[in-house]
């Protein structure tokens, strides 16, 4: 039992740090630091830089473009990325459909779809949730009816993140309506430009357009776009759901969030005219957050040690999801508290008329409230924290 990184690990860290220092676009850092949102172009640009280095799909098998890094190396990679607040790659291709295709796909599917994911040329989206099926995913109703060598798809998907940018989507569709819930579902890849596919924005409570409804009306898709056997799509879906949870703790990013709060609180004044960071209440909350985050960090490290020893991520990763999202939410709540009165003004879409003589609060306050509102989603999506507790009760505790 020891906490030391090996000399190899440290050398690896130095290499990563140097690469990021040299290659991560400074202008993205600046714009996002000022509260702007990342554009599609930002994501693609960074993806292509990583692809050029061979680091765009680090967790994949080497034969498909992966790095062969150890879990510890991946952990270091994540830490170093978080340290500079690097954009994460969009997960739908890299972390979701890619692994499904290289695990379950035909040689033709691998040849057709994997290169575009590795290179960043193809943007993917995920068609899982439906209006009636949230946590109860298997109750989905979108139908794909076989007609010759095509499926005709009809139905509605929702919460489809960044579908407005997507070239392709992977959709769970019911191919056998008479089968029991989890059976009779197929995993189908759809070109988003196919006639009958309509993407409609859902605006979130903070004004953000991240997610969409996707309507599918007589969408004609070749049968060769189905991954894995017909009616066996749930196998691929489950595989993906387990995959999706790794890294969900978000420790490194929450650490950066706390760093920013410390900075803000070093600028803001408390009621007594001292700095907010010296206010007993405020620093108590920061300290509690730091301690809880340390507990989460070491719980993740123990889980990582298990992975290093060859055990896959198990259902106990639900703990990381629960505590990780709770902490993310508290980080944004504390940021909102820190900015005081200037949490109220709403800047999204508000014309910046350039009246610098009469500013509306400090720049760091502009997105505090929207973020607090927006991250409520983290304890809801990907299986709500209530569902995660059900999973632990059943799968870990055996209740």
């Amino acid at each position: 039992m020891n906490l030391e990184f090996t000399a190899e690990d440290n050398a690896f860290r130095a290499e990563i740090r140097a690469f990021l220092e040299e290659n991560y676009p400074k202008d993205i850092t600046e714009r996002l630091g000022a509260g702007e949102e990342a554009t599609k172009e930002d994501y693609v640009r960074w993806h292509k830089i990583l692809a050029a280095k061979g680091w765009s799909v680090i967790s994949w098998p080497v034969q498909y473009g992966g790095t062969g890094w150890t879990p510890t190396q991946k952990y270091i990679w994540n830490q170093e990325n978080a340290r500079i607040d690097a954009l994460p790659l969009i997960s739908f291709g890299v972390a979701m459909v890619g692994p499904v295709i290289y695990t379950f796909g035909t040689p033709e599917q691998k040849a057709k779809f994997l290169p575009g994911i590795v290179s960043g040329d193809v943007w993917w989206c995920q068609g899982y949730s439906e209006p009636g099926s949230g946590s109860d995913l298997a109750s989905l109703r979108t139908r794909a009816v076989r007609e010759g060598d095509h499926y005709i798809i009809n139905g509605q998907k929702t919460w489809t993140t960044m579908a407005q940018h997507a070239d392709w989507g992977f959709f769970l569709c019911r191919t056998d309506p008479d089968a029991k819930k989890q059976e009779g579902i197929s995993f189908i890849l759809v070109d988003m430009k196919t006639p009958g596919v309509t993407v409609r924005p859902i605006i979130l409570l903070d004004g953000a357009h991240e997610v969409n409804d996707v309507f599918l009306e007589d969408v004609k898709v070749p049968v060769e776009n189905r991954v894995f056997e017909e009616n066996k799509g749930w196998t691929a879906a489950k595989f993906l759901l387990a995959h999706e949870r790794s890294g969900i703790a978000g420790v490194a990013r929450s650490k950066r969030g706390i760093d920013k709060i410390r900075q803000i609180a070093g600028t803001e004044f408390a009621d007594d005219g001292g700095k907010l960071i010296d206010d007993a209440n405020f620093r108590r909350k920061v300290a509690e957050l730091e301690i809880d985050l340390t507990a989460l960090e070491y719980t993740e490290l123990r889980s990582l040690a298990g992975e290093n020893a060859g055990k896959g991520p198990g259902p106990e990763t639900s703990i990381l999801k629960i505590k990780g999202t709770e902490i993310q939410q508290r980080v944004t709540e504390l940021a909102l508290e820190a900015v005081g009165h200037y949490g109220a003004p709403y800047f999204r879409g508000f014309p910046n008329d350039g009246d610098n003589a009469h500013p509306i609060g400090p720049e760091y306050a502009h997105h505090a409230a929207p973020r607090y509102f927006n991250v409520r989603k983290t304890s809801i999506y990907g299986g709500s924290n209530e569902i995660q507790r059900n999973i632990i009760a059943k799968m870990v505790l055996g209740l």
């Binding site: 949730s129 009636g132 099926s133 949230g134 946590s135 109860d136 109750s139 929702t158 919460w159 859902i202 605006i203 979130l204 409570l205 903070d206 004004g207 803001e268 004044f269 408390a270 009621d271 007594d272 005219g273 907010l276 007993a280 209440n281 405020f282 939410q329 709540e333 909102l336 508290e337 005081g340 009165h341 200037y342 949490g343 109220a344 003004p345 709403y346 800047f347 508000f350 009246d355 009469h358 500013p359 509306i360 609060g361 409230a369 929207p370 607090y372 509102f373 409520r376 989603k377 304890s379 809801i380 999506y381 709500s384 924290n385 209530e386 507790r389």
Partner: protein, 382 residues
């Protein structure tokens, strides 16, 4: 000892509720916001003329209905339920409080205009550096002949875009955070040197940054005694805090009701999610928080007229601690139990949540009021 509303108060409540139900649908409210405004003149006129509520808490000799804090509670609770955007809090509760407690000679005239709906004061008290310390003022008022000259910057003045006047706290003497030297002025918005920069707040109402650039204000507009107005300001803000808690109770009641309705409709795994015991107990805990908040708001409302400043302040501080915590708990859980739907702009619940989140911090959140309570209850921290 009783907790009942009088017949008049009950009628007032029913009248407000009925008006809002007819004229203040969620869609209509969202339309106003989308139009870039937080104010419908017709609604304000109705408040003044049709409902007469702008005068409900003013004394009869000022042309009001002779009510007070309880009437404000009744109105604000209904406003909370309908997420009313217009700034009754600043124009009536705050302005009315200053008129009532200051003995200011201009009070009766202003009261008449407020009741008629022709004057709409907004309260410019917060400053960028001052957080919740009402004495922390960089805005200055320097006497110059028959006028005061104001300079400074007031932050997030709710209701600013549609106000006719500002009630402004400013320093006439002393250091930046001294208790002595605080004064209050009525400033006509059209006065030269008053610069406003308007914007919407994230929960719907609009607000302004208000800059005073050598603004000349007649001495007759000094409300209360020069340099000795801090107790007056604290008292009025306590009254406003209590009224905002009543609004919060209305907001939370809706959050709770909407959540109960949604969870009884939404099905997962073959049953309404309201059947899951964990969600039931969560809704019970939301209900308990709501009930405790109502109890504390009633308590503070009944103690707000106490002449014992310590008792009054302890009542308000302890109530706000409860209400602020409840705003967080009820708001966050309402969203959680609505799942993804609660995250969307189209669902009313998300707007109640945003309002609850900002009401939590208005005039100071649980931390500010906890420290205040502790100081009153135990003496200053050592």
């Amino acid at each position: 000892m009783d907790f009942d509303f009088t017949e008049e108060q009950t009628m007032l409540r029913d009248m407000v509720a009925s008006y809002l139900s007819d004229n203040y649908s969620f869609d209509a409210r969202q339309g106003v916001i989308k139009s870039g405004s937080g104010f419908r003149p017709a609604v304000w006129t109705a408040f003044a003329e049709e409902l007469g509520i702008l005068g409900a808490s003013f004394s009869e000799d000022q042309g009001g209905l002779g009510g007070g804090a309880i009437e404000n509670l009744v109105v604000m609770e209904q406003f909370g339920k309908a997420l009313v955007l217009e700034d009754y809090l600043g124009a009536v509760v705050v302005a009315g409080g200053f008129i009532r407690h200051s003995g200011w000679s201009g009070g009766p005239a202003l009261a008449e205009q407020i009741i008629a709906g022709s004057a709409i004061p907004a309260f410019a008290y917060a400053e960028p550096q001052g957080r919740y310390n009402w004495a922390d003022l960089k805005t200055t008022a320097k006497k110059d002949g028959g006028a005061y000259v104001l300079n400074g910057h007031k932050a997030v003045v709710v209701g600013g875009p549609n106000a006719t006047h500002f009630i402004v706290t400013a320093r006439t003497s002393g250091g930046q955070r001294d208790a002595a030297g605080v004064s209050v002025f009525l400033v006509d918005k059209s006065t030269k040197g008053v610069v406003t920069r308007d914007y919407p707040n994230i929960d719907g109402p609009t607000a302004s940054e208000v800059y005073f650039e050598n603004v000349s204000v007649p001495t007759a507009n000094l409300i209360g005694q020069e340099g000795k107005a801090l107790p007056l300001v604290e008292r009025v803000i306590d009254e406003a805090t209590v009224a905002s808690m009543a609004e919060a109770c209305g907001v939370m009641e809706k959050l709770h009701t909407l959540t109960m309705e949604y969870t009884q409709t939404r099905k997962q795994f073959g049953q309404p999610i309201a059947q899951f015991q964990v969600l039931q107990h969560r809704m019970v805990d939301m209900f308990i928080q709501l009930q405790q908040s109502i109890s504390m708001t009633y308590m503070a409302t009944m103690k707000i007229d106490s002449e014992d400043a310590v008792e009054r302040a302890k009542a308000v501080a302890s109530a706000k601690v409860q209400v602020a915590k409840a705003c967080k708990f009820v708001g966050e859980n309402a969203i959680q139990l609505h799942g993804g739907m609660g995250m969307t702009e189209e669902m009313a619940v998300s707007h109640y949540f945003k309002r609850a989140s900002l009401l939590r911090y208005l005039f100071g959140g649980e931390d500010h009021h906890m420290v205040r309570y502790e100081t009153l209850s135990f003496g200053k921290a050592k």
